[in-house]
């Protein structure tokens, strides 16, 4: 589904990602772990086009997407969430959802409000409501995103990326800073996503969470990939243990 070959990126002297390579199979949940500053978020930014790699290629469904602009990559079916939540704060929960659902928002058709647009709009609202119910935010439809609690904002960002109808989802710390109940709920949501045919690559620091839901884990340290395997293998890997203990 996604293949990354020899990916490198430096910021001045900082080699954030060095010669990274991995492959993600369709329908799997893959965890990307590593200490703070290992380069995980940078890998996400490279895949989604927000950063241009210095070297290397990113292949998505046999298509080379290296150097494509972010919106094109999103349109090809790669959705992402952000480590620091990025909602549209002054828009409502429903509007946040509607923005993700692929629809006709070109100036002329939508401003003239043809019947087609109105009909499409109605269908999209139904779809948005369904997803909001799925994450339990249907009671907040008309609230402004900025007035949601932290946990609710996390859920909305997840619901929004689902609305995008992408096949590959990159989730940057989807469960950071939430309580145990919500953590379990988010784990359930991610498992459900896979059931509905999505492929997921996620960054997470909570090892229990990673061990429970991931099929495969990629471990990074200092911009380099140091291990790849099943959660059990990773747990015992000496390099990974050293990296986390600051060896």
């Amino acid at each position: 589904m996604l293949k990354v070959v020899g990916l490198s990126k430096s910021f001045g002297g900082v080699k954030a990602v060095q010669n990274c390579k991995f492959e993600i199979e369709r329908g799997s949940i893959v965890g990307l772990i590593g200490p703070n500053g290992a380069g995980k978020t940078t890998v996400f930014n490279l895949i989604t086009g927000f950063l241009k790699p210095d070297r290397g290629n990113i292949i998505y469904r046999r298509k080379n997407i290296t150097n494509m602009p972010p919106h094109k990559i999103a349109q090809l079916g790669i959705g992402r969430t952000f480590q620091i939540i990025r909602l549209f704060p002054q828009l409502t929960v429903l509007e946040n959802m509607l923005l993700a659902i692929p629809s006709n928002d070109s100036l002329f058709t939508s401003a003239l409000q043809f019947r087609v647009v109105a009909k499409e709009q109605k269908e999209n609202i139904e779809k948005a409501m369904e997803l909001l119910k799925f994450v339990g935010l249907d009671i907040k439809v008309n609230a402004l995103a900025q007035n949601l609690s932290y946990g609710q904002q996390k859920l909305l960002e997840i619901a929004r990326v689902l609305a995008l109808d992408a096949d590959l989802l990159l989730l940057d710390e989807p469960a950071s800073g939430v309580n145990l109940t919500l953590l379990k709920k988010i784990a359930g949501l991610i498992k459900n996503m896979r059931k509905s045919g999505k492929t997921i690559l996620l960054i997470e620091h909570n090892m229990d969470f990673v061990m429970k839901i991931c099929d495969k884990v990629i471990a990074m340290d200092h911009g380099k990939e140091i291990a790849y395997g099943t959660p059990k293998q990773i747990q015992k890997n000496k390099l990974v243990l050293d990296a986390y203990l600051g060896g």
């Binding site: 549209f88 692929p102 928002d105 401003a111």
Partner: protein, 305 residues
């Protein structure tokens, strides 16, 4: 009472300017300081064309098109910048446009201005009296109001507001941010252009001084007072700021003093609004920040982009 008709005409012209400025600043979040210059481009385009014999309706349409083209061109570099940097660049463009108006004397007669611009006329009917012209201006205002309201409430407008809120998130959802911003600038500039056309064919004399920084500040004050990201707010702001300095006329002071008092009045209102009601009288309620927030969204946008 053509005195009142005159005030109403100016409310219409400034209403169109404020509504279109609000589209780019309030809804699309592009801190565009070129608006007064687009107003001038429309005025000069329309005046010069009619002076060479082109009928008013055609000059009016050309005023829209030429201003819109400039809006689009300026959006190309401008949409890559944010906040104060964008403000500086768009302001620089405005200054260049004014400099061209002042110095391309073969075309514009420079600071001498263009006198004798024909009054507006349509299908042989001449909008000669102030009341007649008011009817024309009001129709153009209503059309502007309806079109821009439709745009901001459409899915296109929603995407525009989303880009204003968070460009990166919008890109991650597959939105071509540049395209939306360019459209917002293009439409905003086009409507400023038709306001310019109305202005030229109402006053019948234009010179570059009508399109400078002072005018821009007036337009900005209108949306700050009336309401950022609100179409009715922009119109209300225009009405308030056109009417407010009127009593000064009856004080029979020397005109240089009146001009200075006007400036002080506008600046005072602007500061008072930013302090006490930063999102304007009708500013989208949703734009109000959480209760404990200290500065307005508008100010933050200007500084941080």
């Amino acid at each position: 009472m053509s005195y009142f008709a005159n005030i109403l005409v100016f409310i219409c012209i400034y209403g169109i300017l404020a509504i279109s400025l609000n589209l780019t600043i309030g809804f699309a979040g592009i801190f565009n300081l070129t608006h007064a210059a687009f107003f001038g481009i429309g005025a000069y385009t329309s005046a010069l064309l009619t002076l060479t014999g082109v009928p008013f309706w055609l000059s009016f349409i050309c005023a829209f098109l030429i201003a819109a083209i400039f809006g689009f061109l300026i959006s190309l570099p401008a949409t890559r910048l944010k906040g104060i940097y964008l403000a500086i660049v768009t302001f620089g463009f405005a200054e260049i446009i004014i400099a061209v108006m002042k110095n391309w004397q073969g075309l514009t007669r420079g600071p001498l201005g263009l006198p004798g611009i024909p009054k507006a006329s349509l299908f042989g009917f001449k909008f000669a009296s102030t009341w007649e012209f008011f009817v024309l201006a009001a129709v153009v205002l209503i059309i502007t109001y309806v079109i821009i309201s439709k745009i901001v409430n459409s899915p296109f407008g929603r995407t525009m507001r989303a880009i204003r809120d968070d460009e990166i998130a919008a890109k991650a959802l597959g939105k071509n941010v540049m395209k939306y911003k360019s459209y917002a600038m293009l439409i905003g500039a086009g409507f400023a252009g038709i306001a310019g056309s109305l202005f030229a064919h109402y006053i019948t004399f234009i010179d570059p001084s009508s399109f400078t920084l002072t005018e821009l500040i007036l337009m900005l004050s209108m949306i700050v007072v009336g309401g950022i990201a609100s179409v009715p707010g922009a119109l209300l702001g225009a009405a308030i700021l056109v009417i407010l300095p009127e009593p000064l006329r009856f004080l029979y002071l020397p005109s240089s003093i009146v001009a200075a008092i006007r400036q002080m009045l506008f600046s005072g209102i602007l500061i008072a609004m930013l302090l006490f009601k930063p999102n304007g009288i009708l500013g989208e309620r949703r734009l109000l920040l959480k209760k404990n927030a200290k500065s307005s969204w508008f100010i933050k946008k200007l500084w941080r982009g």
